[in-house]
C-alpha cells in the first residue's frame, strides 16, 4: 500500500467512526421528535417506524389542552427577563471593580468569590430556604430572581477576564479628562464588552430555562409553575402517554437548540473560558 492510499484509508476510517458515534448522539433526539408525531398505535410496534406514517400532529395542540403550558411559558419568561437584567447589570459592575480598581482587601475578596464557586450549593440551600420562608417569599418569583441582582461569581469572573484584555490607556485618558469611574464603566467598558455580555445572556437564559430545583423548592401553586416544573408535573399525570410527553419535551428543547444555532460562537467561547456545562 502506498502512502496516499494509506492516508485516504485513514481519513475514511476516521469519518466512519465519527459518523457512527454521531448517530448514537443524534438518535435519541430524532426518536423524541419521531415519537411526538405518532399515535399510541404507531408507538407500540416492533420494529419501530422512524418516520411516522401517517404523521400525527395532534399531540402538539393536545399538550396545551391538558396543561396550561402558555402560562408556564409566561412565568418562565418573567423570571428570565429579571434574571438576565439583574445578572448583566450586577455582574458587570462587580467585574469592573475587580478588574480595574485597587483597594485593600481586593485580593482576599476575589479569592473568596472564586471559592464560593467550589462550594456545593447544598451548604447554603437549607438556611436560604428557611430565610425565604420566614420573609414570605415562598410562592413568589423573588427567590428565583432577586439573587440575580447580586452578581454571579462565574459571570463576574468571565467578565473580569474580558475586561482585563481591554487596553487601560483608554480609561487613563478619560480619567485625565475628569470622567467618573461609573461613566468609564458605562460608556467605555460596557460597549466594548458586548461579546462577553452576550455569553452571559445566553448562559443565564439557559440556566433559568433548565432550572428545576429552584422552582421545585419555591413555587407551590400551579399558577406559578415554570416550564421545567410544569413538565415534571405533566409527567406524573400522563406517565404512559409517550406521544404527548415527547411533544411537550420537544417544545421545551426546541428554543434551547435554536438559541444554540444562532449563538454558537459565544457558546463555544463560554464553555472553553469557564468549563461550564451547558
Amino acid at each position: 500500500m502506498n502512502k496516499s492510499t494509506r492516508i485516504l484509508l485513514d481519513k475514511l476510517l476516521r469519518h466512519l467512526i465519527l459518523i457512527m458515534v454521531g448517530i448514537f448522539f443524534a438518535l435519541p433526539l430524532v426518536w423524541m421528535v419521531s415519537t411526538s408525531l405518532k399515535s399510541n398505535r404507531q408507538i407500540f410496534v416492533f420494529p419501530p417506524q422512524w418516520i411516522p406514517k401517517p404523521v400525527i400532529w395532534r399531540n402538539y395542540p393536545d399538550v396545551f389542552d391538558y396543561a396550561p403550558f402558555l402560562l408556564y411559558f409566561k412565568n418562565t419568561m418573567i423570571i428570565e427577563v429579571a434574571c438576565i437584567l439583574g445578572t448583566l447589570l450586577s455582574s458587570s459592575l462587580v467585574a469592573y471593580g475587580f478588574s480595574r480598581l485597587n483597594a485593600p482587601g481586593k485580593d482576599f475578596l476575589f479569592i473568596l468569590m472564586l471559592s464560593t464557586m467550589m462550594l456545593p450549593y447544598q451548604v447554603w440551600m437549607i438556611p436560604l430556604y428557611v430565610l425565604f420562608t420566614k420573609i414570605g417569599w415562598v410562592n413568589t418569583f423573588y427567590p428565583l430572581t432577586i439573587p440575580a441582582f447580586f452578581g454571579n461569581a462565574l459571570y463576574i469572573f468571565l467578565l473580569r477576564q474580558f475586561f482585563l484584555t481591554i487596553p487601560k490607556e483608554l480609561e487613563d485618558a478619560a480619567r485625565l479628562d475628569g470622567c467618573s469611574y461609573f461613566r468609564i464603566y458605562w460608556q467605555i467598558m460596557l460597549p466594548l464588552t458586548k461579546p462577553a455580555l452576550a455569553t452571559v445572556v445566553i448562559f443565564t437564559f439557559m440556566g433559568v430555562w433548565n432550572d428545576f430545583l429552584g422552582p421545585l423548592l419555591y413555587l407551590q401553586e400551579p399558577e406559578k409553575y415554570t416550564l421545567a416544573i410544569g413538565l415534571q408535573v405533566f409527567l406524573t399525570q400522563h406517565g404512559a402517554d409517550w406521544g404527548l410527553l415527547m411533544a411537550a419535551s420537544t417544545m421545551i428543547v426546541l428554543p434551547v437548540i435554536v438559541t444554540f444555532f444562532f449563538t454558537q460562537k459565544q457558546f463555544i467561547q463560554g464553555i472553553v473560558l469557564t468549563g461550564l456545562k451547558g
Binding site: L29, A103, I126, F150, Y181, M206, N210, V253, I268, G275
Partner: protein, 293 residues
C-alpha cells in the same frame, strides 16, 4: 497608613462597584453557610426551635444505613461515569482535531445532547430506557439481545443513568478539543523530524500537555457526581429499592420531605468536606502528573 485623596476615591469606588456581590454574598451565601454549620449541630425541623445537640446528627448519620447507601450509589456513579466520560471526550476530540471536514457539524451533533434541559432529558430517557418499547432495548432486540429492565431493575438503574450522563458529555468534548488545539504544532513537527512514531508523539507530547484538561474534568466531574439530583428525583425517585438514592437526593429528602433540616445540614457539611478533600487530594496528586507549561 495614609492614603491620598485620589487613592481614597478609588477605594471608595472599588467597594461601591463590588457592593452588589458583597451584599449578596453576606445575605445569600456567607450568612447561610454559617447558619448551615449551626443547624448541623441542632435538631432543627422548621416547626420547632433549633436545639443544640453537638455532633449528634453526625453520629446518627454514620449509623444510618441509607446514608451509606447514598454514598455508595454516588461513588458507583462517579467511578464509572468520570473515566468513561474522559475516555469518550478525549477519543472523540482527537479524531476531530485532525483537520476533518465537517468539524462544525460533528461538534454540533456531539454537543447538542448536553444542552437538553434536565427535565425534558429525564423524560426522554425514561422513554429511551423503557424495557419493552424504548429505543435502547428495541435496538438490542434487533441485534437479538434481550435488554435489561433498566430503571425498573435494582441492578441496571444506575448503569442506565450513567449511560444517560455519557450522552451529555458534549461540553467535555469541546473542552478537550480546545485543549488539543492549544498544543503547539512545532512540537509534533520537531518530534517527527527526530523520528518519533505517531504513538510516541501521542504518549510523550499530547498526553502530558493534556493533563491539565484531564485534571479539570476529573475535579468538576467529581463535584458534579455529588450533586446529581434532578435525574434521580424525576426518573426513579431513588428506586428501585434505593438503588438510585444518590447523596444529593437523600439530602433533599431529609430536608424537605422529612423536614430534618439539622440532619440534612450535617449531610451538606459532610458533602462539603468530601468535595474539599477530593479536590485537595487531586491537586496534590496533580503535582505528580499534571504538566503545566
Amino acid at each position: 497608613m495614609k492614603y491620598s485623596n485620589l487613592k481614597k476615591q478609588e477605594i471608595f469606588a472599588f467597594y461601591t462597584f463590588i457592593s452588589p456581590w458583597l451584599i449578596g454574598f453576606i445575605l445569600f451565601t456567607g450568612g447561610p453557610v454559617i447558619a448551615s454549620l449551626y443547624f448541623s449541630l441542632t435538631n432543627y425541623t422548621v416547626l420547632s426551635k433549633p436545639e443544640f445537640i453537638g455532633f449528634g446528627n453526625y453520629s446518627s448519620l454514620f449509623k444510618d444505613p441509607l446514608f451509606w447507601t447514598s454514598l455508595y450509589n454516588t461513588i458507583y456513579y462517579a467511578v464509572f461515569f468520570i473515566p468513561l466520560g474522559i475516555l469518550i471526550a478525549f477519543g472523540l476530540s482527537i479524531l476531530l482535531n485532525q483537520n476533518v471536514k465537517g468539524l462544525a457539524i460533528y461538534r454540533t451533533v456531539y454537543y447538542l445532547p448536553s444542552i437538553v434541559p434536565a427535565v425534558a432529558n429525564a423524560i426522554l430517557w425514561i422513554w429511551l430506557l423503557n424495557p419493552q418499547w424504548g429505543l435502547i432495548n428495541t435496538m438490542l432486540k434487533m441485534l437479538g439481545i434481550e435488554g435489561p429492565g433498566w430503571l425498573t431493575s435494582e441492578q441496571w438503574a444506575k448503569p442506565g443513568l450513567i449511560l444517560m450522563s455519557l450522552w451529555g458529555v458534549g461540553s467535555w468534548i469541546i473542552i478537550y478539543l480546545a485543549g488539543l488545539q492549544g498544543v503547539p504544532e512545532q512540537l509534533y513537527e520537531a518530534a517527527e523530524v527526530d523520528g518519533a512514531t505517531k504513538l510516541q508523539r501521542f504518549l510523550y507530547i499530547t498526553i502530558p500537555l493534556m493533563t491539565p484538561t484531564i485534571f479539570f474534568t476529573l475535579v468538576t466531574g467529581l463535584i458534579g457526581a455529588f450533586q446529581v439530583f434532578t435525574q434521580a428525583y424525576i426518573m426513579t425517585n431513588g428506586g428501585p429499592v434505593n438503588s438510585t438514592l444518590f447523596y444529593a437526593l437523600y439530602l433533599f429528602r431529609n430536608a424537605f420531605n422529612y423536614l430534618k433540616m439539622g440532619y440534612a445540614s450535617s449531610m451538606a457539611w459532610i458533602l462539603f468536606l468530601i468535595v474539599l478533600t477530593l479536590t485537595l487530594v487531586q491537586f496534590k496528586l496533580a503535582n505528580k502528573w499534571v504538566f503545566y507549561e
